[in-house]
């Protein structure tokens, strides 16, 4: 009868894999939401038209904005669900501690954010292409590519929301409504702080690009802090009975 | 053998008695290996520690001996030892019961001895 020796890294890795395979329904939700959002954004684009008798120009621009909004909300909800009691209890049929469970949940959330970003991008492309094919008139595609920095910002924003959801979900699980409300307030405050920098993202110049990267980094920095705090708090938690 | 869970005799004693019976019936022979506590546990559906206690008693009473790493074995002459103890024990118990019964029926000690002699003489 020898004792099993397990390292934290090994355990976290196994748990991440396990969590991703058990959260398959989560992925379906994300993908469905992205697709739905894409449908809905077809109208939420900007149109400009001008012209005279001989020439008419219509400019339609599509953006990731609405998909972003939907994704952010979805990721927030999913993260708070992952932090919930129910999910925590499932953990006790495997080898786990508060620490490894929290870390693996965070890693799983990050992976979900990556997937959400990729599916957002794909659905965006698919729909712009579909739109292109539907209109038989002459068209010029002015700019198709989505810049790396925009994509990274998308991802970073999702991560912030994910961290926020994780924090709020953890507080709710501890039945501390008041702190949860404070948490939500803090998060809203964060957004108000971040949004001004977001609004100026549409320009092309180098300064703007730098600002975008900076905003992304700010997001990731804030997320790290929120995640660290949440993990610390969860580490002290006992398992409560249904 | 089915164990009597409700008996006054503890289970480990019942196991010890059963092993003694096996020795008397020559199913376990001198210098032969006896069942391990785990085998007994499986056979009788009891905890190995309980079975182990039964074996220990026989070890203490010099009915079995232990060979390091190999298990428990029957001591030579164990059979006759058991027979002797049982005879005395059973007989003593019977006598005790007779004496008790006699006293209950208000038969004096001398009357009882006379009765015994009479029965012995009958043959």
């Amino acid at each position: 009868m020898s004792l099993n020796d397990v390292s934290i890294m090994q355990n976290v890795k196994k748990q991440v894999w396990w969590k991703l395979s058990s959260y398959s329904s989560v992925f379906m939700t994300i993908i469905a939401v992205q697709i739905m959002a894409s449908f809905l954004t077809l109208n939420g684009t900007s149109h400009m038209s001008s012209g005279n008798d001989e020439l008419r120009v219509e400019v339609s621009s599509y953006s990731l904005d609405s998909i972003l909004m939907f994704s952010m909300v979805t990721v927030f909800i999913i993260s708070s669900m992952l932090a919930s009691k129910h999910m925590m209890e499932e953990n006790f049929s495997i080898v786990t501690t508060r620490l490894t469970a929290s870390i693996s949940t965070v890693v799983a959330q990050l992976i979900i954010c990556v997937i959400a970003t990729c599916t957002a991008l794909s659905s965006f492309y698919i729909f712009t292409l579909v739109m292109r094919m539907r209109n038989s008139e002459e068209q010029f595609l002015v700019q198709m590519a989505v810049e790396v920095e925009t994509l990274f910002l998308f991802f970073s924003l999702l991560v912030v929301l994910s961290a926020a959801g994780f924090l709020v979900g953890s507080f709710l699980q501890m039945n501390r409504w008041s702190i949860a409300i404070i948490g939500v307030a803090v998060i809203i405050g964060l957004f108000i702080y971040l949004v001004p920098s977001y609004e100026t993202i549409s320009s092309q110049d180098e300064e703007a690009i730098a600002r975008i990267w900076l905003t992304s980094l700010k997001c990731l920095g804030i997320s790290t802090v929120i995640y660290a705090v949440t993990i610390y708090i969860r580490n002290q938690q006992e398992v409560s009975r249904r | 053998m089915i164990l009597n869970q409700n008996s006054q005799i503890p289970i480990y004693m019942q196991i010890a008695e059963w092993l003694e019976n096996e020795i008397l019936a020559d199913r376990l022979v001198a210098d032969g290996k006896v069942y391990s506590q785990y085998q007994l546990a499986e056979m009788f559906n009891i905890n190995p520690a309980t079975a182990g206690k039964g074996l220990s008693i026989l070890l203490e009473n010099d009915i079995l001996y232990k060979k390091r790493g190999l298990g428990m074995f029957v001591v030579e002459g164990a059979k006759s030892k058991i027979l002797a103890t049982r005879r005395t024990h059973t007989l003593t118990q019977l006598v005790e019961e007779i004496v008790q019964e006699a006293r209950r029926l208000a038969v004096s000690d001398e009357e009882l001895i006379d009765l015994i002699k009479k029965v012995q003489q009958k043959g």
Partner: protein, 293 residues
């Protein structure tokens, strides 16, 4: 392997465990006995590291079990409310067991489930109460964890399968000895399998002894009240049943002159371990008949 020193656990309004001290040094099968709500599950959850003590000390495998990976890797806690991820079939859950537990016995698990007629393609939530209990127990046994904690594992199982699975626990224990603590209301059913009894009452350990000690601890005297009375004058009475013409009393065996009693036409009966536990944990000496008087 497990050591508790003046362990105390208090929930918001009540103190469930007030002073728990005991020590278990080797692998064995131990029954954890106590009335409903006396804190058996709480104690097991403290050992499993799910809860933190309010006061006192607990050590499992040499460490504080709360949030300790090594302890978690060698402990399994099986209870009624054990849940698994809902999209997983039972086959997936077994795979999960193999991933996380080093000593996992896949073949054993499959065979036991086949024996119990539980299909590996079903989902955990679809199982009946008894099937779920069976599955959870099989899962627990298959992990072969050094510390195996079973919280009322037989709840919901029918009688036949209970007997089978008690035997399965015994056989697994023989094949791979480990510390198994079974908390149960059905001590009489599993008395033959256990080595030690740990009895909790009113937040403390009322009894921690080997099975045969508990089995021979008390005797039941049945007969004429007047005849019995002189023998039990200064002895603690554990239980009394006084309904003419019957008179029964349960007392510790050590202080009683059994032989003398037998001559007086008094029956001296054995008291099983489960009965002893029942008597030492009851509030009233008279038993339920007293309520109906």
């Amino acid at each position: 392997m497990i050591r508790c020193e003046q362990l105390k656990k208090k929930f918001r309004r009540s103190t469930v465990l007030s002073n728990i001290s005991f020590q278990i040094d080797e692998p064995k099968i131990i029954a954890l006995i106590g009335r409903n709500g006396t804190g058996k599950s709480t104690l097991l959850r403290l050992i499993a590291g799910h809860l933190k003590p309010t006061a006192g000390k607990i050590e499992v495998l040499g460490h504080n079990p709360f949030n300790h990976l090594q302890v978690a890797a060698n402990t399994i806690f099986i209870e009624e409310h054990l849940t698994f991820p809902s999209p997983f079939t039972l086959a997936d859950i077994l795979k999960q067991g193999a991933t996380f537990y080093e000593n996992w016995q896949q073949e054993l698990a499959e065979k036991l489930l086949a024996y119990a007629n539980i299909s590996l393609r079903s989902y955990h939530e679809q199982l009946s109460t008894g099937q779920r209990a069976t599955f959870n127990l099989v899962y627990g046994l298959a992990t072969r964890c050094t510390i195996t904690l079973l919280d009322e594992p037989m709840n919901g199982m029918d009688e036949a399968i209970r007997a089978d699975f008690y035997r399965a626990i015994l056989k697994e224990y023989i094949a791979y000895p480990r510390l198994i603590i079974i908390s149960s209301h059905y001590l009489s059913e599993m008395e033959h399998l256990i080595e030690d009894i740990l009895c909790i009452h009113k937040g403390v350990i009322e009894l921690h002894a080997q099975l045969d000690e508990v089995q021979t601890f008390a005797v039941k005297l049945r007969g004429d009240k007047e005849q019995i009375a002189p023998f039990i004058e200064r002895i603690e009475v554990l239980h009394e049943y006084d309904e003419a013409p019957f008179y029964e009393v349960v007392v510790p065996a050590a202080n009683v002159d059994i032989e003398a009693l037998q001559t007086k036409d008094v029956f001296v009966l054995n008291v099983s371990a489960s009965e002893v536990c029942k008597y030492i944990t009851s509030e009233a000496k008279e038993g339920i008949d007293h309520v109906f008087k």
